[in-house]
């Protein structure tokens, strides 16, 4: 009766096996699970052609897509985070910074550049989600404040593309105070009558949403982007209820009056040019 005891390996679930694809040529859409030819997604501004899911894109791709002819000049690239709290969780903060820098090629979670959008001179600060979750520490706060001050000085419109989990815990209260610093600077921009457009990309939550994210003359979101103050997991744990479908997605925010419009990535530039023409003096 040996064969009774014979152990069989459990079969691999078919679903998993089918979805395994070699890296490179094909991409699996995170939303509809469809397998799409990578070139097709890239040609389509990194939007899934099947379900219109907007993949997260790098700060560099953002700048290239928004500035005329993909031409821009990066400014304020010479400041770096330090570690005022000597923060260490499972890893040292300094190590995390170094890893992020190697992974993304950026020195921080935001890049500011000057260029033209529809021939209108504009400053754009684009956040990089892959750099520590786009979190805002002193450097992000400082770079965005400088971008605002430059906009004031040159009377140029400012666009910020947000993509961030919120304040950076590793810099403690310093991070928190960046919210006040940036919002104070935005008050001056507002008074000077200079346009500020906030673009909310997936995800924008916490201290970034609760400061410059929601303070745009126009708040524009990408489809299905997660935007809110508290993260969905925190809310679920607090109220012990399942969250309704679509909660905190761009469509939900539009419905509740928190954003002006949802614009697809392909249309974003032309919408921005239209709005900027309205907001800047006649040429």
């Amino acid at each position: 009766m040996e064969w009774f005891k014979k152990k069989r390996k459990p079969r691999e679930p078919i679903g998993e096996r089918r979805l395994k694809v070699p890296d490179g040529l094909w991409l699996k859409c995170e939303n509809c699970q469809a397998i799409v030819y990578k070139e097709e997604i890239l040609r389509n501004s990194k939007v899934c052609p099947k379900c219109n899911y907007h993949f997260r894109i790098s700060a560099q791709d953002r700048l290239r897509a928004l500035f005329d002819d993909g031409k821009y000049e990066i400014i304020d690239d010479n400041i770096r985070s330090c570690d005022p709290l000597m923060f260490k969780d499972t890893k040292k903060y300094k190590e995390r910074l170094k890893e992020s820098e190697e992974k993304t090629g950026f020195s921080e979670a935001v890049v500011t550049a000057v260029g033209e959008v529809g021939k209108i001179p504009v400053i754009i600060s684009a956040m990089e989600y892959n750099f520590m979750g786009g979190s805002m520490g002193s450097v992000v706060g400082e770079k965005i404040t400088r971008a605002i001050e430059l906009a004031l000085e040159r009377r140029m419109p400012l666009i910020v593309v947000c993509s961030s989990g919120g304040a950076r815990m590793q810099e403690g209260v310093f991070s928190l105070m960046q919210m006040a610093k940036i919002s104070s600077a935005l008050a001056r921009l507002d008074e000077a009558g200079i346009p500020y457009i906030s673009i909310l990309a997936d995800p924008t939550t916490g201290g970034v949403a609760a400061s410059f994210g929601m303070l745009g003359d126009l708040n524009i979101s990408e489809p299905k982007a997660l935007v809110g103050f508290a993260g969905p997991r925190v809310i679920e744990q607090t109220i012990h209820q399942e969250l309704p479908p679509g909660f905190q997605r761009a469509e939900f925010l539009l419905e509740h009056g928190m954003i002006d419009m949802i614009v697809e990535r392909k249309e974003l530039k032309s919408v921005l040019v239209n709005c900027l023409r309205f907001m800047t003096p006649n040429q």
Partner: protein, 319 residues
């Protein structure tokens, strides 16, 4: 017996118990002598315990259920408090209180978080966790101060803005952001006092001002130690380690130049003596208010801007 902030308070509580028992006895010479001795010992132990608080223990003190709350301070510091209600848009948030009051004969406006003392009150106050309407009410009251040229005093004591479905629907992020921007240009002096827990954006939303005072055992942080531990350590039990790393004490914040003044607390914390805590705060509050009143409003706004503009540390890379 008083509720303990944590186990570290046990040696203090033991002596307090003995004191209580002794003082019930007829005051013979022997008893009085013993009482004196115990009181001395109590002071010494209090001093000892409270000068060596760990960061997590500071959280326990700041969250002590008997700690003076905004309404206690209002009662102890001001006269003729007239409470205002509602944001004129949606509802009245009970976790933020505010209104008109008189401070040493001078009309002021006061706004603060209110946590509530017993279970019923706590539920009524939503544990001091405000929703958008709370922040909008706060700003509405502060706008009134601006209109009538009265100074604003805010008291911060919240574990954070409320994370709920309704709060998100009504724009928690927008409400906080809007307050930050508008407080930065409110044309009247603002003094902020962190009295207990300064919890993240929910605290800062009424925390932009010309002077920021912080009670000795209050805490101010970008995230609660529990939240931080859950995210970075993937384990809520690491809250003590998180608290240590986050550097949340008044002394840390003073060292970082993020607050202006530390307001000392009575021996053994403000929860032991509300009146004395209010008396000490009174001195600091009054002095700062008199100083701010002397500053022309345009200078004041510029100084307020510069104060927050300076916050943050980074390295300049040499190329």
């Amino acid at each position: 017996m008083r509720k303990l902030a944590g186990d570290f308070e046990k040696p203090i509580a033991e002596i307090e118990d003995q004191l209580e028992q002794l003082s019930a006895l007829p005051p013979t010479e022997e008893v009085t002598e013993k009482l004196e001795g115990l009181k001395k010992k109590l002071r010494k132990v209090c001093q000892e315990v409270y000068s060596h608080l760990k960061p997590w223990e500071r959280y326990l003190v700041a969250r002590h259920p008997e700690r003076p709350y905004t309404l206690d301070f209002i009662l102890l510091l001001f006269e003729d408090f007239v409470e205002m209600h509602g944001d004129r848009k949606f509802s009245d948030d009970h976790s933020i209180v505010g209104g008109l009051a008189c401070y040493k004969g001078e009309p002021i406006v006061v706004v603060g978080h209110e946590k509530g003392r017993n279970t019923r009150e706590k539920i009524y106050r939503n544990f001091g966790m405000a929703q958008p309407e709370g922040y909008r009410k706060a700003l509405r009251i502060m706008r009134l101060a601006e209109k009538f040229h009265r100074p604003v005093i805010t008291f911060i004591d919240t574990s954070g803005a409320y994370p709920g479905i309704g709060a998100e629907e009504r724009g928690q992020a927008e409400a906080i952001a809007f307050n930050l921007r508008e407080m930065s240009r409110l044309q009247t002096p603002i003094i902020v006092v962190v009295t207990g827990e300064g919890g993240s954006g929910g605290a800062l939303a009424i925390g932009v001002g010309d002077r920021i005072l912080m009670l000795e055992f209050a805490v101010y942080s970008v995230i609660s130690p529990e939240g931080c531990a859950a995210i970075l350590w993937k384990n809520q039990e690491k809250k003590e380690e998180a608290a240590e790393n986050l550097k949340v004490s008044a002394h840390d914040l003073k060292r970082f130049n993020l607050i202006d003044e530390i307001v000392p607390e009575p021996l053994g914390g403000a929860h032991r003596d509300h009146t004395e805590a209010a008396r000490i705060l009174d001195e600091h509050l009054y002095r700062n208010l008199q100083e701010l009143k002397e500053v022309p409003i345009n200078d004041l706004l510029k100084q307020r801007y510069d104060k927050f503009r300076r916050m943050g540390v980074f390295e300049k890379e040499i190329r």
